[in-house]
Point group: C2
Chain length 332, copies 2
């Protein structure tokens, strides 16, 4: 295992320290916890957003802590749900009196632990609500999931619910918008090479020299099938057809697009993929309001990418295009 | 060779198309050329900045085309200098009457071709000047370089000279500031795994299971030596000591830091590296005004990272922190 680390046991702790040292104007560490919050937390009079999950998906979720997106992010061990006490602490620290919305990716461990944390916080009199993101159209149920998995579409929930919270909207309103995003967002990915969890020391799956995995999860959970690597355009066609058929997306719709790298994929390849995405959407008479290309929800050094489409209405579009200022995503 | 591409011959063309389709508000393609310019080019009354070089270093340089940074970027074939006619076209398209500054990384081919383009443009009556970036302290002379190589520090020239040009400063003033950055910026990198140029089909160098290359260039040119992978902190110490000794950087200095991923390095590892960078700088009583952590100057899917330090004075600091709005770097 070749990694730029000091020891497998210290990767999350040292990453969090390095992130706060890099972005002191944005981030503050909650002492004794694997929790990053806004430097100016709590923001009084604003609903707070907390997300998180296993580490290894950077910049998710700590990179999205900042104005217009999250108030706090909880980092579990690599690919492992954070424990309830960690999430509970995050809720307490970010609550500015207007309540806290939890944005949870749909994994059994995350659901259970965030839920338990919510109960603890509610017992303290903090208003807490939650949304569960399940944007991955590849498979129903999987290694750690009942129902569909939450993947890169989660970033759109952070962005849009975060923008809504910035307007001073109440918890129920922020939740309504977040759920509207969940209802309208779909993703699917593929991998050409796996990643290695530091504590495991070896790849979570293996692929032969020409083989790729279609529809795998962001922890390397099995996808729909394996096949030989095809030209980028054919792969995009396969993924995007699954996505557009699912909601469905069709003529006259307006969407946001995310072409997300899984960690080791050159930006060159992501742009090549986006070329085909844009071409296919134009053919279907689907308008693109905004495109994001880059590493937004990664799987350590996995190589591959995912495509996310979010169907927009006027409300979602306005919130998507609203300003944000975080370490990983800045919009003006 | 596993890559998300359609054909090795089409990677640059399709990448440029995909980038313009992703960022139509920022970028416009100069038809018939591998040149990206601002959507609103030319900006009248402003000195224009043009950079470029071989492709494969994305988001360099097309990702930095936008307000506060570049006006145009010229993309050669992968790891190959763009030809003079391409650079010449970029100069003509972006010139708003105040002249054009070329930002050239110090590679023999780039110098020659940008120089030739400058002469053609000057013959047309366009004012053209240039700066050459040579921030890599690893080695003097290398595969394609006389003198030191230009690497990730180039992004600081784009940022700072770009901000200066935005103020309406004259060409000589923009050049003065750009050269001040060149004088004060130093970088060095290391790789744990190589990359494959699509047209070559195999890695440009090989490393065994525990071996890393210290001080290699962004095209895989040889560095200072190979060694066994050490803990991240020791590697950072080695690189940063070479950098701080070179200018030198010392007690009381204020700097900007860039911890740059080469393409396949998880953000987690870059933050772990930054933790040690920040700790060492604090020990040396060097103040950090701003830290950038991410993929800024890549080498396709090479794994590894580089560290860049820029010594700041009040002028450079103000320009560094000025707003920018480009596909790859947004600051508010």
């Amino acid at each position: 295992m070749k990694k730029i680390i000091n020891s497998p046991e210290q990767v999350v702790e040292e990453m969090l320290q390095g992130a706060v040292l890099a972005h002191p104007g944005y981030l503050r560490r909650v002492e004794g916890f694997q929790v990053l919050v806004r430097a100016n937390t709590p923001v009084e009079g604003k609903v707070a957003l907390v997300s998180g999950g296993g580490s290894g998906h950077e910049p998710s979720h700590g990179g999205y802590v900042g104005k217009g997106m999250l108030d706090g992010a909880v980092a579990g061990a690599v690919f492992t749900s954070p424990t309830p006490d960690q999430v509970y602490e995050a809720i307490k620290v970010v609550d500015g009196g207007q309540g806290v919305l939890l944005v949870i990716k749909n994994y059994t461990g995350d659901i259970m632990n965030f839920e338990m944390a919510a109960e603890l916080a509610e017992a303290d009199g903090i208003k807490v609500d939650r949304v569960v993101v399940n944007d991955d159209v590849a498979v129903e149920n999987s290694t750690w999931t009942t129902g569909r998995r939450g993947i890169a579409g989660t970033v759109f929930i952070h962005k849009i619910a975060g923008a809504k919270a910035e307007t001073g909207a109440e918890l129920a309103e922020v939740k309504r918008v977040a759920e509207k995003v969940v209802t309208n967002v779909r993703s699917m990915g593929m991998a050409i090479s796996p990643c290695t969890v530091p504590a495991a020391g070896k790849p979570s799956f293996t692929l032969d020299e020409t083989e790729v995995e279609i529809g795998m999860g962001i922890h390397g959970e099995p996808g729909t099938h394996r096949e030989s690597l095809r030209p980028a355009d054919e792969t995009v066609e396969h993924l995007l057809n699954k996505i557009t058929a699912d909601l469905p997306f069709g003529s006259g719709d307006e969407v946001a697009v995310m072409v997300n790298g899984l960690g080791a994929t050159p930006l060159m390849e992501l742009y090549i993929a986006n070329r085909k995405v844009a071409e296919m959407l134009a053919e279907k008479n689907i308008t693109v309001a905004k495109t994001y290309v880059g590493n937004f929800m990664t799987s350590l050094e996995m190589a591959g990418f995912s495509i996310t489409l979010l169907k927009l209405d006027e409300e979602l579009k306005q919130l998507l295009l609203a300003p944000a200022d975080t370490p990983a995503l800045v919009q003006v």
